[in-house]
Symmetry: C2
Subunit: 345 residues, 2 copies
């Protein structure tokens, strides 16, 4: 494969839809970006049987190849089971291609727990990083923001939160071209009981470095776009993200009900359809698909399990951006610099 | 005042707007409900000067009286400062009227920290309750749900979460007439790392009683209406609630922008206006104003600081419902029964 292309290994069998989503997504990314090459990791016979047209051409031109992996990690498999008994899974093989340097990054729509455990086992964490975190981009009134951790780490020390702040800041810098991402620590606004000890100490740690720390942010600040990076522990992040999805779904549900109320509102609904579509487009979760497993010695991007072609293509593009910038190398370098700064204070 | 009426003491000076919201709200509640009597607690001269019309009539008929309190707790005052230096505040006096039995409940739009600290100091917690919690009702696709804690307690043990479950269940039972409220513990859905130790232990404690425990719920379940009571620690609850407000505000913002995009969408906006109004009405936060400070030996309802007449009236009605049912007595009784059940297991 060409040296100048970013090579992405795709777990072709993972997620709810496996090949029927991964192949069309691969085709769409290869069609729109010339700087990406792909490795389809999975059952060779099944993949061979379904490759044709542009994918076959890409294969001939060397922009696509198949890597055989006979096993599949299922969506409800425990991380420990996957680690022990699925050593030849498409998920693990994709990660191993990153480890060996054959791929610059990998993408999987497989189950999060197994992916994190396998990635951690195969790739290991970067020096100075205690725990990898899961980060994702979400829309805000101003544009978008990166939030982490989203569920990999339930109980976090101040040092963990500090590491998340560094990793998030580096990712936004690299991928968004934002020279100095504003970093906020997610906290609550009750008077005199501003957060727990970990958060207060994390604030001290982050503030003592050259990170662009803007202080505590509250739940409603996330969507105001006050910060470019919102740092929290995985329990809080997971609840905040899922709660957000729940609210958005409820509003869509109510809006639908209101438009179906009577003949007049149905007519109004038809008139307003382009507007509602515009709103849906702006908040389309598929555009934000692709969560980054940060803190590893390699790039692993997690696609939503139920992702469709468009969503999975977005996850591949996220992996391509991170791969092109070598995000793990940047995190490693930045963390070292910041820890030196902290010691100097 | 009549024995059969529920007497509510109102901190007439609290909140962002003080008397200019409390007086009209009092008038509206007295006008719509015959079973409520009110005590306006605050600066007597100021209140006297602004009472007229229906309020003056209510005063003559014995459904309204004024209780003088010369001091006011400000919105940015620390709880400890309020406790030490504002012993004659309208907030404290309103709570004292509950303590003395002159009022069945009180309502304040003053600052949450000071209100909780003062209520706890004056009223004390119920036997068996370690910490009071803040609970509020939020809309769901099915109707509404009660969520607690929302910020009073950051680090919670399993026992605290158990107590929140009991208090929430009793409140929903008393106020909604729901014979067996479904209680859910807010958790995250990551595979094999289902929650922290406190939550797992809390699940065991709640499941060992006759509470209608439905298991763990996730962030997106809150708005599906899966549970009638959602229990979590105050940090998570506060973040979830504020994040929800943030998402709703962002969607409203985007919807407004989409409708203002061009002449055609502006026209669509005019046609869709009744529908948008219908949506706003359904999610109107004023209808859900009035958070309950649960676990105290008396009823204290916290109104949002920026509440308007309609919102503050809703908070008064919440206090009236709780007062009529004697919620603290019910919690006390239920907790005793459930603890006996637990011991028997």
């Amino acid at each position: 494969m060409s040296e100048s292309r970013t090579v992405i290994a795709l777990d072709a069998m993972g997620g709810d839809h496996g090949l029927s989503v991964v192949l069309p997504a691969a085709e769409s990314v290869l069609g729109s970006r010339d700087d990406v090459a792909l490795i389809l990791v999975g059952d060779e016979a099944q993949i061979e049987a379904r490759i044709g047209g542009p994918l076959a051409e890409a294969r001939e031109s060397g922009r696509l190849r198949i890597e055989h992996a006979p096993e599949v990690v299922t969506m409800d498999e425990t991380p420990s089971h996957a680690l022990r008994f699925k050593k030849k899974s498409s998920m693990r093989r994709a990660i191993e291609l990153v480890k060996s340097g054959e791929a610059d990054a990998c993408v999987s729509a497989g189950n999060t727990g197994a992916l994190m455990a396998t990635a951690r086992y195969v790739l290991k964490t970067l020096p100075g990083i205690d725990r990898p975190a899961i980060a994702t981009t979400i829309p805000t009134m101003q544009g978008h923001t990166l939030m982490l951790d989203l569920g990999a780490n339930i109980d976090c020390t101040a040092e963990h939160l500090f590491q998340f702040a560094v990793m998030g800041s580096v990712l936004v810098q690299a991928v968004d071209g934002n020279a100095s991402p504003r970093v906020g620590l997610l906290n609550i606004g009750e008077e005199e009981i501003k957060g727990n000890d970990q958060i207060k100490e994390a604030a001290r740690l982050v503030a003592a470095t050259s990170l662009n720390y803007i202080g505590f942010v509250e739940g409603d600040d996330i969507y105001k776009g006050t910060a470019d990076v919102v740092v929290c522990d995985g329990f809080v992040g997971n609840v905040a993200l899922k709660t957000s999805e729940g609210v958005a779904r409820m509003i869509a549900h109510f809006l639908g009900e209101e438009f179906r109320r009577n003949l007049l509102t149905r007519l109004a609904g038809m008139v307003a359809l382009p507007v509602i579509r515009g709103l849906r487009r702006r908040m389309d979760p598929r555009r934000y698909n692709g969560a980054s497993l940060l803190g590893l010695r390699g790039i692993v991007v997690k696609s939503h399990g139920s992702a469709d072609r468009l969503a999975f293509a977005h996850a591949i593009e996220e992996a391509a951006r991170e791969g092109a910038m070598n995000v793990p190398g940047l995190i490693d370098h930045r963390l070292e610099t910041l820890l030196t700064e902290r010691q100097a204070v």
